[in-house]
């Protein structure tokens, strides 16, 4: 029974990893194939979040019978060596979480900057469709040449 539990957990974990691959593929498709800049931006944020999710998942560890997994937060404020040993045994990996915090902040900075640029582009060209923007630019260059 216990082995079955662990096999089930491994299967669910694999399913999560593969669904994240699908998410990456769909968001990459959005970034490359969609002509609308806002849709590109939304796809990019989905891509960022998926990668972050994947990083956190890497820090997770296998649940085993008798092991109570917990976040890397020590709840006992005057810990004995035994409490600490138990804490180290039960906690998930804190490093990916710390990296993801950094990634979220940088991702937010990029999103903020891109949003501002999209706002500017929409005011300049009255559209956020890259194909239309390209076309209007070509018309302008043609007029210049004539």
């Amino acid at each position: 029974m216990k082995n079955l539990d662990i096999e089930l957990i491994k299967f669910m974990f694999m399913l999560t990893v593969i669904s994240l691959y699908f998410n990456v593929a769909i968001s990459l498709y959005g970034v490359v194939a969609k002509a609308n800049l806002v849709k590109k931006l939304i796809a990019l944020t989905i891509f960022q979040d998926t990668v972050n999710m994947f990083t956190i998942l890497v820090g997770y560890k296998l649940w085993r019978p008798g092991l109570l997994l917990q976040p890397p937060v020590l709840t006992d404020l005057s810990p004995t060596p035994e409490t600490l040993r138990e804490f180290v045994e039960r906690s998930v990996d804190p490093l990916p979480q710390a990296f993801v915090l950094t990634a979220i902040v940088i991702g937010l900075a990029v999103t903020l900057f891109l949003t501002t640029i999209v706002v500017h582009v929409s005011y300049h060209f009255k559209t956020v469709n890259v194909d239309e923007i390209g076309r209007s630019k070509r018309v302008y260059i043609h007029e210049e040449a004539v």
Binding site: K61, V73, V88, S91, V92, L95, I104, L112, T116
Partner: protein, 270 residues
Amino acid sequence: MLRDLIFVSLLVVIILALTYLTYSGGLGDLPPQDIRFIAKNYLNLTYNQEISWLWAASPEAVTAIVWDYRGLDTLFETVVFYGAILAALTLFRSISKVPELVSSAGLSLVVKRITAIVTLAILTVAASTALHGHLTPGGGFQGGAIASVAPLLLLVVFGKQFFIDRKITYNKLLSIRNISLALLGFTSVALLVLGFLIGVESYIFQNQAKTISTLSYPTHLLDVPLGGSLFFFNLFEFLAVAGGFTLVFTILLSKDETLRRELEGEELGY
């Protein structure tokens, strides 16, 4: 159409290849039986008073890693974030000089009263997330991000006149952000400065005393763990993020004509 088809099939092939790699153990044992050796070290040292020359004085391991063990990295990451905010603000810089961006008187009285109560709750949760960042999951950035929802709500529900009546101006928000950033920088070098003044060896980003340096930030305040410098970092980051986000929201929620005026002056627009 054909291009789309090729692209989709390429993605499907990539997914299948990655899935095969993962399934056949390309990423190692998933999920791993145990955490990595380095993670064990961090977990063991973060709040281990018996090895006090290596501890970060914070029961929350993620905050300890973010602001102490790799604090310089986080400081520069903060700089990148404010660079982006600054860039966004610079693109619309003259809006700050438009004294009046208002026309809306806000939504109905019912919405306003409910929002007032919710805003208080949001600010309380934000402050708790930021100030307990070294004790529970959370931290300055998360707290700041939560707090910035409150002014966004107020802007939408009460209208911008509400901010102007209470003299919450662009310059004041900018000052909050800048002062918090300066204090953030100061916290990272405070012990270094103190060390210079009293002639003791110390480091940038020093939190607790090391074997060759005896200076420390306080670990406890009235019997509650303070997390050394982590509490101050969280507090200043909270203020700076909340101030910076509010600034950006104020700008991006300006009237269309005000924003468009920024772009006038160029004949063709690009």
